[in-house]
Amino acid sequence: MSRVDPEASLQPLAYRLRWRPHGVVPGAHPGHGEGTEGEFRRHVSLLRHPDPRRLDLRASLRDPFGELHVRQFAPRRAVPVAALVDLSGSMRFGGAVAGRVADLCALLAVSAQRAGDPFALFGADAHLREEACLPFTRRRGQEEEVRRRLAGVRPTGGRAVEGLIEAAERLPMRRALVFLISDFHMPAPEIARLLDALWRHDVVPVVVEDGLLDAALPRWGLVEVADLETGAVRLVVMRPALRERWRREANARRQAREKLFAERGLRPFALTDPLDTEALARRLMEG
């Protein structure tokens, strides 16, 4: 909820997947296939799974037909977790990257590390920004590095779609949990293209909300705004009617975005300022 104090140790969050990861690397998530340990999945007949070591006596005794039940487990597998951060100029608004985005990524890094999952960071504007990238690793203390990198990077430049697609190409071939962190102010077809490039992965769109813009617009007055990416300038004569219109249009855009996500079965997470840790925890537990 509050900006997480970098000195204080982060409370890792648990996260669930709605799918079973492939792969061989042992981890914390119930994976594909059958294993001899891990998360209990079901009982099967000993005949189907002839592994007497896993015989469940209690279940077998309870069976009126006297069939022997063997416990079957899902193997615990690690899942790669990646944070893809939009570093286009617009992300500079409200100091989002160094603030809540860095908080979020650090939290994700520490959570992944706790769950034994490798975590990687990709920052991109028009191209991948190497200084804002960290490869997959399970190292402890990575969250500090993540925060340092994101605090040091200055979001500039144009649309980040191309760079984020580059980042998508660097992701592992198997399904990964991808947090796509952006303000999603790019046009809908661009967003669609980016999401299509990430089809393989479990994408959590993290929408960096510019809540101030909706909540705190002045009622009256003159404001000269300039696009942080293109530099285009517009003078706005604020008045209640226009403020209403501004909010209506913002809502319409948000709904269009939600629709786009919904079409792909994605459930976005709204990254408010400051980061709402509880909401994030809830969202992560939903899988």
Partner: protein, 322 residues
């Protein structure tokens, strides 16, 4: 909440511009004292002024033309509220064409009048410059104007015995300037017929070489053919160079000294204004001077700085405050 204006240089520059403009509107006009002059310009129009010993643009021009140009330049250079009157000199008197009139308001008319001055206005071939200057001084005195007298100093006939006629006025009472028009090398004088056509130059015998009025000079008995009764100036016709004309600087300087006037040779038309300024009396006149331009310039500077600086820094999107 407004932008914190006190931290915004744009606000301050705008405020400075507005205050400066208000100052420009409210500032009273300054009363400055300028030096105006009242002048009576008398131009010699006698025959010798037709001598073409000036060059203008490679063409020889007459003394009268050069004098006219000089006076027109002078007219243009005089500050407003100065007054200028015009007279001509020929024979033995100065003839007032019009009394001094304000130069700015009446510029075109005065300029036209100066341009119309012509040798044909002369009514007799004689040229008693000294008496002309004395008469002009009397007129100028009655008009309380300073005199600017443009002449080549050619006396025709020459002064008797080279002595200046006495000046009856009070030297220095009327300030002013004798302007010597012409080159110091003698040149022949063009001759015109009755219709104003040029018919050659004056020859030695066409002009009186000696003034034979009054008592004969003391060296007369030594001349050939001298006879005290029949030929008191000698038997031979006087010879000399009076048919050639140069600017008589010595004579003019003596005349200037006698009458308390200044003397300046006219080298080119542009030089007259400075000489007049040095030799005539300025009287202060009050003129209102608008100094609104100073604060207005400040306002312009502030606005230019505001928009120029804003234009210089405002175009990089990555420098925008977010």
């Amino acid at each position: 909440m407004g932008v914190r204006l006190s931290h915004d240089w744009r606000f301050w520059l705008l405020a400075v511009a507005l205050l400066a403009l208000l100052a420009a509107l409210l500032i009273p006009r300054l009363t400055l004292t300028r030096h105006a002059r009242d002048l009576l310009v008398v131009i010699d129009v006698t025959g010798s002024m037709n001598v073409r010993d000036y060059l203008e643009g490679g063409e020889p021009v007459s003394r009268l033309t050069t004098a006219r140009h000089a006076v027109r330049r002078l007219l243009a250079d005089l500050p407003c509220q100065s007054r200028l009157g015009l007279g001509i000199f020929t024979e033995r008197r100065s003839f007032l064409l019009f009394e001094p009139a304000e130069v700015c308001e009446n510029f075109a008319a005065i300029d036209g009048a100066i341009d119309a001055i012509d040798w044909r206005m002369a009514w007799e071939g004689d040229s008693y410059v000294v008496r002309g200057v004395h008469a002009a001084l009397a007129i100028a005195g009655s008009l309380t104007a300073d005199l600017v007298f443009l002449t080549d100093g050619q006396e025709a006939p020459p002064l008797a015995g080279g002595a200046l006629p006495p000046f009856e006025g009070e030297p220095g009472k009327v300030a002013g300037l004798l302007v010597g028009v012409g080159a110091t090398e003698p040149s022949p004088i063009p001759k015109y017929n009755e219709d104003g056509r040029e018919i050659g130059f004056y020859a030695e015998q066409d002009v009186p070489q000696e003034n034979r009025e009054g008592p004969p000079p003391e060296d007369a008995p030594s001349r050939a053919g001298w006879n005290p009764r029949n030929a008191p100036w000698g038997g031979e016709p006087a010879t000399g160079t009076e048919h050639l004309s140069a600017m008589r600087e010595d004579g003019l300087r003596r005349l200037a000294a006698q009458t308390g006037l200044g003397f300046a040779p006219l080298r080119d038309p542009a030089s007259l204004s400075a000489a007049v300024e040095a030799n005539t009396r300025a009287h202060p006149v009050d003129v209102l001077v608008d100094i609104a331009g100073i604060p207005a310039s400040l306002a312009l500077l502030a606005l230019t700085t505001l928009f120029g600086l804003a234009a210089l820094i405002g175009h990089r999107p990555d420098r925008l405050p977010a």
